[in-house]
Amino acid sequence: MSATSSTIVNLPDQRTATLPKKNYINAEDGILSWLLTADHKRIGILYLITITFFFLIGGIFAGLIRLELLTPQPDLVASDTYNKLFTLHGIVMIFLFLVPSVPATLGNFLIPIMIGAKDLAFPKINLLSWYLAVIGGSFTLATMVLGGVDTGWTFTTPLSTHYLNTHVVTAGLGVFILGFSSIFTGLNIIVTVHRLRAPGMTWFRMPLFVWAHYAASIMMVLGTPVLAIAITLVALERTLHIGVFDPALGGDPLLFQHLFWFYSHPAVYIMILPGFGVISEVISTFSRKRVFGYTAVAFSSVAIAVFGFLVWEHHMFIMGVSNYSALVFSLLTMLVAVPSAIKIFNWSFTLQKGSITFETPMMYALAFIGLFTIGGLTGIFLGSLGMDVHLTETYFIVAHFHYVMVGGMLMAYLAGLHFWWPKMTGRMYPEAVSKLSAVVSFIGFNLTFMPQFILGYLGMPRRYHAYPAEFQVLNVLSTAGATVLGVGFLMPAIYLVWSLKYGKIAGNNPWQATGLEWQIQSPPLTENFVESPVIDYEAYDYEWLAHKTEQEVTTVG
């Protein structure tokens, strides 16, 4: 079906690049100009700072968890402290880091530019959603300061409503507010994609990054409110004992789980889809080749968004749901895995006949593909009913979701961050050391979580503060891996900050990528474009790019 042609793309000479005098960073001065900004790029940066902060907090919790699990005995912390550690680790990492990670930073920054708009549709609401994130984050921090919460990130009733005297309501309120932050981000993205595309930017000319965000945003808008009502009911149950989830009063505690997972399963796709978007951009750019089967990749995102709403009960297979409905949900779980598989293979074939280079973003992207495949395929273990009986609530699940979330999404996030760093800051990150950090985190990651699959099959339960001695060897490996991983994640935090001042000047299009964002100056102007762009080429059109560069060269030379 394809018309093939060949393209050669040479990286531009960056020695001649200069930082533009006027850009969104220096357009206005003073801290207030940041706190009151309506510029999507600045809000993206605000988000970046916020989530990095929370990632470090969540990471410290992770470190403490792993340290406690170094030995089988409960020696480092008391059991209730341990329970608070993993609860806060989960809440912070999911709601404060991973859900906003790509959409609120990179998405915020790039989506308007990618579709040729000057801003998101509702800049003020965009700012509001950042403030909501900060307020929700403050509630979470307050929870920590006041003494923590130990429900697990899943807030399971009736434990959370009747049997704990920690700060469940404070934490719940935090999650509630964060939910609205995420709703507003999603809403903004959907409206922007529908309403603000530049002339010529048809749906099928949009970068896959935008498609992925569009799909994720649909889930944010439709799923998150159900979490909000579930959390509200938990809070009411705790404070007023209304009995909707209380078996003693006739309520059904499983109803809570239905509502919770109705959000939280789609949430895992909210987390991964934007990462998929990043990977499409990165793989294409560094193989200098259009994404194989653009439409399939675009529609598979949408398919995930739709089917993602139909599988939540797979988190409840042994919880006392009807066996027959478990059957339905297991089947649907298998179906929803297919679009992910499609994407993996499409990316693989994007490499074919490309002209591939291995800059840091590409290394992260390749790591993503491998790790997500492992994570995703172990999801099939869990979706397979009989297997889930043995594996559920063990470290197998912990390994599964860290593979998809850390090995998948976090790697994708880092890929994206490095990829667009020159665009966001105007400067390059240091290539050699960042490659090293990618390798270190890849090794550290596998060392941390691969043993956990074995532990899980051995039956080691999750959320255990002490464990039988025969599990120790694997746990020691895992803790060792976590240390390596910590180093691998700490390095970017240092060298990226360093590069703000000392990095090489990047120039407009250091990767010779085709996206609209690369055709403007870096860092961009506050208005993004000098004049409204008109798009007359497909996404990932390297011929167009080659043609354009040629012309530039001729005009300059």
């Binding site: 010529g200 930017m201 139909l310 009960e313 798009i535």
Partner: protein, 112 residues
């Protein structure tokens, strides 16, 4: 070739609909209809119809809601996009309903 896509007035856009001002006449008609339906639904509650009672009550509520959405909320004059959005919302709600019910309905099978 670029100008063919540039359509600032949105005339060719399927997501666009001509703006339509709804006049007070329509509103009054709708208002009366709504009150009438309220009367009917209250009246129906006083007649014992067995299983039909809840069906009628919810049915009338759906009719009323549809009228409000279509006219008070102007959806009937809006673009396809808005119509689909509204539909999607209720559709997702139905998914929540039916898929959760698969559990509750069949949980009792073989038990009580």
């Amino acid at each position: 070739m670029s100008s063919q896509y540039h359509d600032p007035a949105n005339v060719n856009n399927p997501e666009h609909a001509e703006h339509h001002i709804v006049g007070p006449g329509t509103y009054i008609a709708i208002y009366v209809t709504l009150l009438v339906f309220t009367g009917i639904t209250v009246g129906a509650a006083f007649i014992d119809l067995g299983v039909l009672n809840p069906i009628i009550a919810v049915g009338i509520a759906c009719i009323k809601a549809t009228i409000v959405i279509l006219f008070f909320m102007h959806v009937i004059y809006q673009s396809k996009l808005i119509k689909m959005t509204v539909g999607a919302g209720f559709f997702t709600f139905l998914i929540l309903l039916t898929m959760t019910l698969t559990d509750y309905i069949s949980r009792a099978w073989g038990r009580w």
